[in-house]
Amino acid sequence: MSSGPALVSILRQGSFLIASVHTALDDSEMLRFRGDLIDQIGRYRARGVIIDVAALDVLDSFGFNTLRSIAEMARLRGAETVIVGIQPDLALAMVQLGMGTGSVSTALDLEEGLDFLHARLSAPPDRLGRRG
């Protein structure tokens, strides 16, 4: 995110990437976010990706589809994705618009997401940490 305040921050934590979306993104920002994230998965050889949307109170279908495509693309590049921090209202709005969970994993918050990835990759965190 080059100009203005960061809309999304992508942090590295061991072999995981943690992407926090700070504000609602428009379509082009969403696509740029996807590009950046997929790019970094390869660069850092990440095994897991956490997308934190706790700051979002709306998400349109394009946004959700992009998140889903990120999960798919990340899987193809060898990383597991989990979306965390979906707010109650957002969750309700999403299912009402027919955007079910489908293949994407979700968790309550960042902590849960980390636990989920650790469990999914079935390896203790310190070992993964060294490897990343």
Binding site: P88, L90, L92, V95, T106, L108, G113
Partner: protein, 305 residues
């Protein structure tokens, strides 16, 4: 008014007087009428009570209550005839409704007794003035509109009061209807008692999602043993609730689907393949504990999970 045309002599000169005279005359007639009704108060009241009993109305009331209520209704009635103000009657009718609604008195009974009173009083007026048809006509002209207004007011007040009671009950049902209860760390149960309509289902979803957030729940057991029936809307809403909970990282187990509900859901073709169900609440809790990694053991070593 049909009664009047039957009783009017064909060439009744007095009916053709202009309106202002009629109005002035009615003003004098009403006090006369009220005086008559006051004078024969106890006789007319008893006749009225007799008619009520014959018609099998207000059978929920005891003799004494009947006497007290009919007396005050009678007095109110006459007072309204006298003053023309229905406000006091409105208050009284509302009070009365508040007292009798919990005892199962129906609208037709209330309307029935007021119409009976109207009839009893009209008959007594007939009797008194039967020798002078034109006077009788004028008396009835004064009496009938007032009596109609009274019947109307009582019926409307009664129905208003009933609706108020119903609204109040709906509100209280809504308030206590959907408790979200933490049973173990990260495990919520949501017992649903009573009919699920779409309003309640919506509220339930909101409370559940908020509960998942507050209690950081991973597993939710929704028990619908106490729900008598569901329809398509509600079933789809349940599916949405499960999906929304999953988006927030909690898995949902639905328990206590009765045979009727199971059949309804299958017949309706609601897609429940993604929903995790267990037979009863106990099974649901055991499954939830398994998902959360709890292992319940008894002190003597027997396991329950």
């Amino acid at each position: 008014m049909s009664r009047m045309s039957q009783n009017s002599p064909p060439a009744d000169g007095s009916r053709t007087t202009d309106d202002s005279t009629v109005a002035a005359e009615q003003e004098q007639l009403l006090p006369q009428l009220v005086a008559h009704l006051r004078e024969h108060r106890s006789k007319l009241r008893e006749e009225w009570v007799g008619r009520i009993r014959d018609a099998h109305l207000l059978e929920a009331m005891t003799q004494q209550e009947m006497a007290a209520e009919t007396t005050s209704v009678y007095d109110n009635y006459v007072e309204v005839l006298e003053t023309g103000s229905v406000e006091a009657l409105q208050h009284y009718a509302r009070d009365l409704s508040e007292r009798i609604i919990p005892r199962g008195v129906e609208t037709h009974e209330v309307v029935g007794i007021v119409l009976l009173l109207r009839d009893v009083l009209a008959r007594s007026l007939f009797e008194k003035y039967q020798r002078d048809f034109s006077l009788l006509n004028r008396i009835l002209d004064a009496y009938e509109p007032a009596a109609n207004r009274i019947a109307n007011t009582v019926a409307v007040s009664f129905v208003d009061e009933r609706e108020r009671v119903i609204r109040q009950q709906q509100d209280s049902i809504r308030e206590l209807s959907t408790p979200v209860l933490p049973v173990r760390e990260r495990l919520l149960i949501l017992p649903i008692i009573g009919v699920l309509d779409s309003e309640r289902a919506r509220q339930l979803t909101e409370q559940l999602l908020a509960g998942i957030r507050t209690h950081r729940a991973k597993v939710v057991v929704i028990d619908i043993t106490g729900a008598p029936d569901v329809d398509t809307t509600v079933a789809n809403h349940l599916v949405q609730t499960v999906d929304a909970s999953r988006l927030m990282g909690a898995s949902v187990i639905i328990t206590g689907l009765s045979p009727t509900i199971a059949q309804t859901l299958v017949d309706l073709g609601v897609d429940l393949s993604k929903i995790h169900t267990m037979g009863d609440l106990q099974g649901g809790l055991e499954e939830a504990e398994r998902l959360l990694g709890y292992h319940v053991t008894r002190k003597d070593g027997a396991t329950t999970t």
